[in-house]
Amino acid sequence: MRLLPWTIYLSLAGAMLSLAAGRRSAAAARWVALGTAAAAWGLVLAAATGFSPSALPQTLVDLDWIPSMGGRYHLAADGISMTLLVLTGLAATAGILFSWNIGERTGEFFAFYLTLIAGVYGVFLSADALLFFVFYELAIVPKYFLIAIWGSTNREYGAMKLALYSFAGSALVLAGLLWAYATGGAHSFALADLASAAARFPAGQQVAMFALVFFGFAVLAGLFPFHTWAPTGHVAAPTGASMLLAGVVMKLGAYGCLRVAMPLFPAGLAFWQPAIAWLAIIGILYAGLVALVQDDCKFVIGYSSVSHMGFVMLGLAAANPRAVAGAVLQMFSHGVIAGLLFAVVGRMVYDRTHTRRLGDLRLLALYRLLPFAATVFVIAGLASMGFPGFSGFPAELSILMGAWQASPLWAAAAALGVLIAAAFTLRVVQLTFFGGSGSRETPAASAALPPISWPERTGALLLIGAAVVIGLKPDLLLNWIVPSLQSPLFKAVIKGGAP
């Protein structure tokens, strides 16, 4: 456990090493990056085996940092952090495997990539609001470069939009946090201290502060109507970056809502709860319907990410242990699944066929040319639909149960979202790989496409393995998550019914 902070330092070191290695050869940079990411993930898994879940987070590092402002370098981990750390390591390793074919400026690509990962690890480990915010913002600039330099459709616009939206969201968070910090006497940024100080603020102030912080984080989580950056940005990004962005970085926003906004201002949550729930539901339904009519398969997946994050936000809004546990599990599950989907569409299909338009792909009957990719995409699609047997099912089931407890209408509306997800997923799977109606004839001019390389296979198997293992044995993660929700900070805001 004590070694967990090294995930951050390793990633940063790896970033610089990658940059240097990139000057010698692209292959050197790739291997350095893979080694770093795998090593960091290895650290997390090693910590996971020895992890005994408890209500309170376990402190890893606690040093003085800015005494004059009360900011401390305080890293801690509880079950929720561990879940997301495992996800980060997995998504990072898989993402690097799927970026194996980046040939231009490879060293810089992996340098930015690993810096982003370092920031993400930092966010999940932070227990001090200032430190949390520093890591959160640290992640923004590498995202911009990853998309702007190595992206595809509309990349400069997509990158700028993503960066500005993220920064605007964090500006809101900063305003709210500083306000709370200042009003509380400006002694300390520790989450527990801020929470106990905020508990004494008048309700109106709590409501306003909560709005700033929660909706600021929610921008990055893709809550409707702040989600418009997500489809554009994810489509523009290169495959490895999309996997990380949709898979992990969106979870940063939701994690911020859960870890910072909710425990600090319970009165604020109570006020905003219906609004958040309905925005989440609208996001689920609207994004799903838009995904149903897209012509570019990457856009379908981009919108599906917004839809799935809607489930996460609904779980958080319902604010009972079952719903929140489901939301965290969904964060993990969707991280893996989004990675799979983008990997297939971006790396396996687009890099070979150079088209993502469903109208073009349906003529190719790709399931014959790329059977491995077809199988992976079917599995990823099933997982995305929330099909039983994969990690999405226990997560969505738990969220629906928790939502039903809070309000049956919310659960019913969300269940509709499950159906819409099935429809658009089935459509995109069918059109991308299995041709439309009646295209069973051997396609004309089907020159053999390059075979699926070993990094792609490895990455796909890792992700599928995670989806299936957690789908069949969700207790592996739920046994971490559920006890963490018993901590005093969470108990004040997440109430109602034993899980």
Binding site: R322, A325, V378, L382, M385, F387, P388, G389, F393, P394, L397, S398, L400, M401, W404, Q405, P408, A411, A412, A415, L416, V418, L419, A422, A423, L426, R427, Q430, F434, G435, G436, S437, G438, R440, K473, P474, D475, L478, N479, V482, P499
Partner: protein, 510 residues
């Protein structure tokens, strides 16, 4: 807990077979077919060993396996066997290999076909044996995927659309089913069917659901009902079925009609009725009308069909609706005596089994006709096939008569018991349903006459070899079973009679 987990083996043996097939990428078609058939026959083996250990008179579930699974959701891995599930396991054990035999000459991508078919078989068994919602739903949903691909990749010209419609329809129903169970879990804390039914029997479940207020308690019932109704299919949720059955290849249609439609009826008997007895009772009359709609309109629609496969598809709707008719009649009450109820329910179970046999045999026959006709299967495309293929005509005729319900063949017993039971409870419904029987006879006889009798015409005018090879084996076995269970139905009845009697005994009689 038994020493040997027969039920788990039953479910996972076909899957193991599929895995084996998947790991041998360069298997020859002959090897793939043989491997698939062996794996498929494992179910029959498991069924017989289950019979050996099964005591029909013991109450409750037998050969139970129960392990904790997802503690946060109180979900368990729970399998169990009673008379109803045993009959359905046996049915699956018979129909599945028959379907594979019917697909013996299918040349395209034999290995993938085998893998998908075996996965489908395993899922069906899972549905019949699972007693906890978490993995029951897993099997229920998972069965859609191999079915989808089997229809789409090996089906007729309209297969993609038909498969898509089939899956979407069922998934829509499943979404409602899921929501219903979410509500049940929140109200009761359990996903176990047994616990839920015990809670419902005392009225506790209704009380807890009533706490939701508004129309939500009814919505929960409707949700579970819709999910199951789409699968049966109950009129008017049946529109996905004719295209799907018609476009699917012969072997797959056999499995769909033989086994998958029974999943829906099983769901009604295992889930809806025990958990929502009072709600079904309250809604009985509209439900009876729906079942009757399926019976009568299904039969009339079949009469109008030119496409033989669609004709049998509509006939399936008709036959399966009899089972639901029986159930809704029993739920409607008032019951003069328990015997009436046990007759209806026993008839429903028998009808499930027998229809499985006869419908799959009929699809096999039409598959043969289609293969001979180069893809054509219209009723006007054939004529006088009897003189060209006498064995085939004979076997096909027997299957048709079984479906009509001729005494001496298996189809009669089930229908008779159902009518006897329903007539004793809601005579008007029985009278209306008789129309279905009449019209069924009408269209099957028309089929027989147009295709097999008269001068040789259409496809049968050319080369029309008699049934041979795997087709013949399969059809012969099915027909033999039709005779067997027609003459000696007690072989089956003995397995579930105490169960049905117990059900009937638990119902209120004045």
């Amino acid at each position: 807990m038994t020493a040997c987990p027969i039920l788990s083996i039953a479910i996972f043996a076909p899957w193991a077979g599929a895995l084996l097939l998947a790991l041998v990428p360069r298997a020859s078609p002959a090897l793939s077919r043989a491997l698939a058939l062996v794996a498929s026959l494992s179910t029959l083996l498991a069924g017989f060993s289950a019979i050996a250990r099964f005591d029909p008179n013991a109450a409750g579930y037998q050969l139970v396996e129960r392990h904790a699974w997802v503690s946060a959701l109180n979900a368990h891995y729970c399998l169990g066997l009673d008379g109803l599930s045993l009959v359905l396991v046996l049915l699956t054990g018979i129909v599945a290999p028959a379907g594979l035999l019917a697909s013996w000459r299918q040349p395209r991508e034999v290995r993938l076909f085998g893998i998908l078919y075996l996965v489908l078989q395993g899922c069906a068994l899972g549905v019949f044996l699972a007693l906890d919602f978490f993995h029951w739903f897993l099997f229920w949903e998972l069965s859609l995927i191999p079915a989808f691909f089997l229809i789409k990749l090996w089906g007729g010209p309209g297969a993609s659309r038909a498969a898509y419609q089939f899956v979407i329809y069922t998934l829509a129903g499943s979404a409602f089913l899921l929501l219903g169970f979410v509500a049940l879990f929140v109200a009761s804390g359990s996903l176990d069917f047994d616990e839920l039914s015990r809670l419902a029997a005392t009225g506790g479940l209704s009380n807890r659901l009533a706490a939701l207020g508004g129309f939500w308690p009814k919505a929960v019932f409707l949700g579970v009902f819709l999910g199951l109704a789409v699968k049966v299919p109950l009129f008017p949720f049946h529109t996905w079925l004719p295209p799907a059955y018609a476009e699917a290849p012969a072997g797959v249609s056999m499995f769909l009609t033989g086994v998958m439609s029974k999943m829906g009826v099983y769901g009604f008997l295992r889930i809806l009725w025990p958990i929502f007895p009072s709600e079904i009772h309250a809604a009985a009359t509209p439900l009876l009308w729906l079942a009757l709609g399926g019976v009568v309109l299904g039969a009339f629609a079949a009469l109008r069909q030119r496409d033989l496969k669609r004709m049998i598809a509509y006939s399936s709707i008709n036959h399966v609706s009899y089972c639901l008719l029986a159930l809704f009649a029993v739920a409607a009450g008032p019951l003069k005596s328990a015997a009436v109820a046990s007759s209806a329910l026993g008839g429903a179970i028998l009808q499930m089994f027998n229809h499985g046999l006869s419908a799959s045999a009929l699809f096999l026959c039409v598959g043969v006709l289609e293969a001979r006709g180069g893809g054509r299967r219209g009723i006007g495309d054939f004529g006088g096939a009897r003189s060209a293929a006498p064995v085939f005509a004979g076997l096909c005729g027997i299957a048709m008569f079984s479906s009509i319900g001729l005494p001496g063949l298996n189809g009669f017993v089930g229908e008779f018991l159902i009518f006897r039971g329903v007539f004793g409870i809601v005579p008007w419904a029985a009278a209306t349903a008789c129309m279905g029987v009449l019209v069924t006879a009408l269209f099957y006889l028309t089929f027989w006459q147009r295709v097999f009798h008269g001068p040789r015409a259409g496809v049968s005018a050319g080369a029309f070899p008699d049934i041979a090879g795997a087709d013949r084996v399969a059809l012969a076995i099915l027909v033999a079973l039709m005779f067997l269970f027609g003459i000696a139905p007690q072989l089956l009845v003995g397995l579930f009679n105490p169960l049905v009697t117990a059900w009937a005994g638990g119902l209120p009689t004045p």
